[in-house]
């Protein structure tokens, strides 16, 4: 499928030595080399958070976290796929929060660890989307949910930050909680509400 003159590179993926064109992602490289891969594959566009990989680049002893479909292979790269992200132990139901005055109090009951952040930066380093995770947790802890939520716009819930956090904070869920309470309590669009009201009165109908 690829161009004849394309550069080939050698990589190790899940312990298998693979030679493939450098324009391929780590997942495509596995397929290219004839290895099956279906677990931890998903949207192939970097939004479903399934294809979590650990990467070590040539002449580096740093291991970084990334999404497999978004990572193009490079010479000497070592890649390991992780599967089945573990669920968090935090649970909550938005309906149990009676008003926006209560959100902060509830937050600390649902995510008691959020205050224990050691500022180790592990979550920031593990985030494949470059989100300022740690700052998001700090903002949420102070009750600044709208601001915290804004930081997590790109979050795909890959759970890397959860794995990286020594205090079990589940920062991605903190981020999503912040976003959800913002919508739940504060998104009240006038144009939508007035349309709902007109519909309720039965003033609009469809003729088929």
């Amino acid at each position: 499928m690829q161009k004849q003159d394309e550069e080939l590179v050698n990589v190790t993926i899940n312990g298998k030595e693979i030679t493939a064109p450098s324009s391929l992602s780590t997942i495509q490289a596995l397929w290219h080399a004839g290895y099956p891969r279906v677990k931890s594959v998903g949207c192939l566009e970097g939004v479903c958070g399934s294809c979590r990989i650990m990467v070590r680049r040539k002449e580096s002893d740093q291991v970084t976290m990334a999404l497999g479909c978004q990572t193009l292979i490079e010479e000497g790269m070592q890649v390991n796929f992780l599967v089945f992200p573990t669920p968090t132990h935090h649970t909550y139901d938005l309906k149990m929060i009676n008003s926006s005055w209560e959100v902060q109090g509830r937050f600390h009951k649902i995510f008691p660890e959020a205050d224990h952040c050691r500022h180790c930066g592990g979550c920031n380093r593990s985030c494949p989307k470059g989100i300022e995770v740690e700052r998001g947790v700090a903002l949420a802890s102070k009750g600044r949910f709208r601001e915290a939520g804004e930081l997590f716009i790109e979050c795909v819930m890959c759970n890397f930050c959860m794995t990286a956090c020594p205090e079990m904070i589940a920062p991605n869920h903190v981020g999503l909680f912040s976003r959800r309470v913002t919508a739940y309590f504060h998104t009240r669009p006038g144009n939508l509400i007035s349309r709902l009201e007109t519909l309720r009165k039965g003033d609009l109908d469809v003729e088929k």
């Binding site: 099956p36 279906v38 998903g42 949207c43 939004v47 869920h173 959800r180 739940y184 939508l192």
Partner: protein, 540 residues
């Protein structure tokens, strides 16, 4: 596909290209009907055949889909000996938007709900949606206009009853999503911002950046995870189960975790397995997620469900054509809605960019076939999406409203603010599907089908934003209805006996039976040669 490699070479065309503030509108020479007949892939010669078995016997269907619908099953009785049986009230198959909405409603109504999904919960077409979701909320707009636009865009093939229910649901659907914690882009007064979809008469698409699906899916997934819905992930359904009178009564799941079969016995089943993109109909690239392999259609058809519009697929105009390893990736229609033009190799606009998708895609295919396309060294072809021109007219808007496009630019090495992406139609959506009623019920008792797997709403062509609306509108309806009607249902016997009938019919019709379905995973994944997955034993 019928690409014609005559055109202008990429480098040469790019040298000629220049971002301009204004470019004259296109002059149409063909009527829409002629344009479609000559260039739309649905009319490719010899691609449509008649089905030989099943509820749609004698009716038209795309050949590739027909092969799957008339394939042999993956399992037989002997595979199920000793398989554990789980009990539940309602089994939802598919963890995208439609499945999650159905599961949440059913659980809220007090039913015991189990949700099985092929891979990770939320890995779906839903999470990838970009442009937004339709709801008539602006002053000059009405549900009637929404209805009329939908019917017209679908070339009058839609089920009017379903469309009427859906457009009336729309504002409530948005409210429900907000109450699940979903954010939308708002203006400074807090009103929902709207954009106009191609082929429609009003700005009616509400959205969150070009991450509408991501925002929707992560919120719905979180809501499901925080409920008492039992989740069985990494477990594709390989067959439905029926009771002694042919009612749907559960499913056979194949776990990718431990390679075993599990039976789920349920009072009713809601199939929400999404679309067909990864079948690469007519060899087109696709915008769809990895699991979009028409499984639900195959499962429902085997149980006797009636399908419709199996000859009609949507090719989205703006799929990425270059670089090749990203072929098919979507650039949302929102970009054209925001004012981006499309240009051929001569730098001319060649169609009104906001016509319906079938129309715009046909026009792109015409430019390519008639030598006005842009060709790349690796054999791809396409036209320009003039994002730099839009940046010139509205500086900063792309970065603000289309972060996913900017990311796409980084990965493809083509910065859309400076260089126009090369686009070509990408297989995007199955217009048809399982025939349903306003509660999402199929023609088989106990079997609901909702979301992309169902048919009837979009006729032969869908407008932007109506899919996300459909999945929540009908997902909720099915969940509620299934929960309200599961009391007192008791299946004496559950089995896959319907497969014997299927095999008999296939043999009588002289069908080859060398293919086994459902497909489950695209061929490129080489799933079938993997000894890890013996549990599915394709290689019998």
């Amino acid at each position: 596909m019928s690409k014609n490699n005559q055109g202008t070479a990429y480098k040469e065309a790019l040298n000629k290209y220049c971002a301009l503030e204004d470019i004259a509108a296109a002059k149409e020479t063909l009527t829409p009907e002629v344009l479609l007949k000559q260039f739309h892939p649905d009319y490719f010669p010899n691609s449509i055949i008649n089905l030989k078995v099943g509820a749609n016997k004698g009716e038209a269907c795309h050949g590739q889909l027909a092969a799957m619908l008339q394939s042999d099953a993956r399992i037989d009785e002997s595979d199920l000996a000793g398989a554990p049986i789980l009990e539940t009230d309602i089994l939802v198959i598919g963890g995208g938007g439609a499945g999650c909405a159905a599961a949440l409603m059913a659980a809220e109504a007090g039913a015991r709900v189990t949700l099985a999904t092929k891979l990770r919960l939320g890995d779906s077409n839903t999470v990838m949606a970009e442009g937004g979701i339709q709801a008539s909320i602006e002053q000059g707009d009405t549900p009637q206009m929404h209805f009329d636009d939908t019917i017209k865009a679908g070339h009058h093939f839609s089920d009017k009853e379903l469309v009427a229910e859906m457009v009336m649901d729309a504002p409530e659907v948005i409210r429900w999503l907000i109450q699940q914690g979903m954010q939308f882009d708002l203006d400074k007064y807090g009103d929902l911002l709207t954009r106009r979809a191609g082929g429609t008469s009003a700005a009616r698409v509400v959205y969150y950046r070009d991450y509408t699906g991501l925002e929707m899916m992560r919120v719905l997934r979180e809501a499901v995870l925080n409920s008492n819905i039992e989740i069985i992930d990494y477990s594709p359904a390989v067959e439905l189960l029926a009771n002694e009178s042919g009612h749907c009564a559960g499913a056979v799941l194949s776990s990718l975790k431990d390679c075993s079969y599990n039976l789920v016995r349920a009072k009713s089943v809601i199939v929400a397995t999404g679309g067909i993109g990864r079948m690469h109909i007519n060899q087109f690239p696709t915008s769809n997620h990895f699991g979009a392999t028409a499984d639900g259609l195959v499962l429902a058809y085997r149980l006797g469900a009636k399908l419709r519009d199996l000859d009609s697929f949507q090719y989205h105009p703006s799929g990425l054509s270059h670089p090749q390893h990203m072929a098919g990736h979507l650039i949302t229609e929102g970009v054209r809605s925001a004012g981006a033009y499309m240009l051929n190799a001569n730098g001319e606009r060649f169609v009104d960019e906001l016509k319906t998708r079938d129309h715009v895609s046909s026009a792109i295919l015409r430019e390519c076939v008639e030598g006005r396309g842009i060709t790349t060294p690796d054999g791809a072809i396409g036209v320009w999406l003039d994002t730099p021109g839009l940046e010139l007219r509205e500086p900063g808007m792309l970065a603000l409203r289309f972060p996913k496009l900017i990311e796409l630019g980084k990965k493809s090495g083509i910065d859309p603010l400076k260089v126009p992406p090369l686009i070509y139609p990408t297989l995007h959506y199955q217009n048809g599907g399982v025939v349903i009623d306003p509660n999402g019920l199929s023609s088989v008792k106990g079997l609901y089908c909702v979301g992309e797997v169902s048919g009837g709403i979009h006729g032969k062509n869908r407008i932007m934003g109506n899919a996300l609306l459909e999945i929540i509108s009908f997902g909720r309806r099915a969940g509620e209805h299934a929960a309200a009607n599961c009391h007192g249902v008791k299946h004496k016997k559950i089995s896959i006996e319907h497969l014997s009938d299927l095999r008999r019919e296939l043999t009588q019709a002289n069908m080859p039976m060398d293919l086994q379905g459902p497909l489950l995973f695209p061929e490129c994944a080489k799933f079938e040669n993997d000894s890890d997955y013996d549990g599915l034993h394709k290689n019998r």
